[in-house]
């Protein structure tokens, strides 16, 4: 008997459980932690920049203002003008005058600029879908990870990620980034920049759906 057959034989056959699986999820909305107020964008920013996630953030009116915000960040941090620019069409289309952009990612890259597919208010997470225009290493090799996300793309809950992904072809990697990398492996002391980025900076572009509705 193959290992596969032996394992299935040991478990036994069972009925299809789809209805029960769905019923379990129906219990979720009532028991989530109270993390998302009326305004998903404000909740997102609050969690993102809170002590636990510990990212920094800036807001701009539109994508066109992103390069200036990147220049500001690099200047304040005393970093050079060289950035690894994720090969996403929406980023490539911007005017990067005054910065040296390149399309690769070095092992010791100082800073990369990426575009998140969307973001999650509940946890302050940024979501990346790997692909031709999103190399995974852009989010892991640089010391400074600068992430652009559109306010209209902020969803409320982690379950909303699952809803957004349902029915789409899965990317190789779907990555939720929640803060700069860190470790507490030596005596429980928190240190940032363990293997991934030591700094996470978010540039939020435009007005969120929540803001538009309430104004």
């Amino acid at each position: 008997m193959s290992a596969r057959d032996a394992i299935f034989a040991a478990i036994g056959a069972d009925a299809h459980p789809a209805a029960t699986a769905a019923a379990l999820l129906a219990r979720v909305p009532g028991l989530r932690p109270d993390r998302v107020g009326n305004d998903a964008v404000e909740s997102f920013l609050a969690r993102l920049t809170g002590p636990s996630v510990a990212a920094t953030a800036a807001r701009v009116a539109s994508l066109a203002e992103v390069p200036a915000a990147v220049r500001d960040y690099l200047r304040v941090r005393g970093l050079g003008p060289r950035i690894a620019l994720q090969p996403a069409a929406a980023l490539r289309a911007l005017d990067w005058a005054g910065l040296e952009t390149h399309g690769g990612i070095a092992v010791d890259e100082a800073a990369s600029v990426c575009l998140a597919a969307y973001a999650v208010a509940e946890t302050g997470s940024l979501v990346f879908r790997s692909g031709a225009d999103m190399p995974v290493l852009f989010a892991f090799l640089p010391m400074h990870h600068i992430v652009v996300v559109e306010a209209a793309g902020v969803v409320a809950w982690l379950e909303d990620c699952a809803a957004r992904e349902a029915g789409r072809p899965a990317p190789r990697n779907l990555i939720l980034v929640t803060g700069p990398s860190g470790t507490t492996d030596i005596e429980g002391v928190l240190v940032r920049g363990a293997h991934g980025p030591g700094h996470l900076h978010v540039i939020l572009a435009g007005a969120g759906a929540g803001v538009a509705e309430s104004s």
């Binding site: 699986a21 225009d133 999103m134 190789r172 990555i175 939720l176």
Partner: protein
């Protein structure tokens, strides 16, 4: 074995450095978990849902395994099945060999430890690079992990500094924990890029997509699984969840219980190999699904243990673990969850001391995010030791535990206070008719219900 266990325990209790190291990390973990739980009014209901999701999957394991396999294959993954640890290692080594691997990076996985993958790689002459910082420390020390979330918790910063100064190519001054982390970052960076194969574990296997979810705070999992040509996942068959939405329920519970954070820094769903046109990623993606005793747990009354998320909370809250540390348990998994799993994995005759290494306080079950009744399962092993006629030599260890706890007044007070609290659960009308771990007594007579406060507490109360 009893002699060996007693020796390990006594050595651990005598080790002040170890005690200091354990206190530093578990103390922070307990405080942060408590704050996260206090900040979540629905936590108790969420635990019940977490339990029900895992129980649902365990009750329909065949269905979900078949669904996962189908979807993983459709995503381009190759799925392999292993009944035992040996089969799992053989498959993994064969995959490494056929990839021509000289160097393999590994992202921490308890399943990998359980099946003995580090030894198998060494025996095959393949360089193994542990990339999780704590596993890196453990590897340099030629040591074993002593905690399932913080494997190097038994090492102090002074010990880490000494090792990094000796072993790293460019250690720098190493005058702070920050500097030590920086040195490890430099040391491991080129190893990530040069590896031929990356091996990870899985926190969840998502049935409806065939994706494998990993969670890390360091970002080492993605650096392990992206640059090499081959990514191999080794995972226990109990890691299944029906969908990503079910995984999110468990993620909330897992991360808060482990570190007190709301989500790990990097939560990634890996689905198949590099797609046509993808900028990076492995050409081959293999998933090795491992039984190694799990189907036996279903049959032998340990199905509830298959819920375990490996969060480590029961270790951090266990008075025994905090006294003796992880190595004294002698198995892959320490603490209360280890005392349940190790007799299954390593055989009861050699490990019957472990279910005895328990003070009855019930803290582990109280903090477990999926409500595993750990004391009940430990009692099951004790009953079985009796039934199988194993010599009751373990009593010696029980007394040993009592002795070291009693010799430490603060701990003794804590343990009795907690024990009283849990004993009260079994008292009806002031008398205990049945209580776990005390069958020998309550089978023939009732045991007086515990006082509201312990003797020591009452004395102190009167003195004031």
């Amino acid at each position: 074995m009893t002699a060996a266990f007693t020796a390990r325990t006594e050595q651990a209790i005598g080790d002040r450095t170890l005690k200091l190291a354990i206190d530093r990390t578990t103390g922070t973990a307990r405080a942060k978990r408590a704050a996260a739980v206090a900040d979540w009014p629905g936590f108790e209901q969420a635990r019940e849902l977490g339990r029900d999701i895992k129980d649902h999957v365990i009750a329909h394991l065949g269905h979900y395994l078949a669904e996962f396999e189908r979807n993983a294959i459709a995503s381009g993954a190759k799925v392999h099945w292993a009944r035992t640890a040996e089969e799992a290692c053989d498959i993994t080594i064969r995959l490494c060999r056929s990839a021509g691997a000289r160097s393999v990076t590994r992202a921490k996985s308890m399943l990998g430890e359980e099946i003995g993958l580090p030894h198998a790689l060494a025996a095959a002459g393949i360089e193994r690079v542990e990339t999780d910082l704590a596993e890196h420390v453990v590897q340099l020390a030629g040591d074993r992990p002593s905690h399932i979330v913080w494997p190097a918790l038994h090492k102090t910063r002074e010990q880490v500094r000494e090792m990094f100064a000796r072993e790293h190519a460019d250690p720098g001054p190493l005058d702070s924990v920050e500097a030590m982390v920086g040195s490890a970052r430099r040391q491991l960076r080129m190893k990530f890029m040069a590896a031929d194969v990356g091996i990870s574990g899985a926190n969840f296997l998502v049935a409806d997509s065939g994706a494998v979810c990993t969670v890390t705070n360091e970002g080492n999992a993605e650096l392990t699984t992206t640059p090499p040509r081959v990514h191999i996942v080794t995972a226990g068959i109990e890691k299944l969840v029906p969908s990503m939405a079910h995984a999110t329920v468990l993620l909330r519970l897992l991360v808060r219980s482990a570190t007190g954070a709301e989500l790990t820094q990097y939560t990634t769903f890996h689905c198949g190999p590099k797609r046509p046109g993808d900028a990076d990623g492995p050409d081959e993606f293999h998933i090795v699904l491992v039984d190694n005793g799990r189907t036996r747990m279903l049959r032998e009354g340990l199905a509830e243990m298959l819920r375990c998320l490996r969060c480590g909370a029961c270790l951090n809250h266990c008075v025994v673990y905090r006294q003796i540390g992880g190595h004294a348990y002698g198995g892959t998994y320490p603490g209360p969850m280890g005392a349940v799993l190790t007799p299954l994995l390593d055989g009861l005759p050699a490990t019957q001391d472990l279910p005895r290494a328990c003070t009855l306080n019930g803290q582990c079950a109280e903090v477990c995010p999926v409500k595993i009744p750990l004391p009940k399962l430990l009692r099951g092993w004790r009953d079985r030791s009796w039934r199988e006629g194993l010599p009751p030599r373990t009593e010696v260890f029980g007394i040993g535990v009592w002795r070291f706890v009693a010799a430490r007044p603060a701990l003794y007070r804590l343990a009795t206070r907690l024990a009283l609290r849990s004993m009260r659960l079994f008292a009806r009308g002031g008398w205990i008719r049945s209580m776990p771990f005390a069958r020998g007594w309550t089978a023939h007579r009732d045991f007086p219900g515990p006082a509201r406060r312990s003797f020591m507490e009452q004395i102190r109360g009167r003195g004031r």
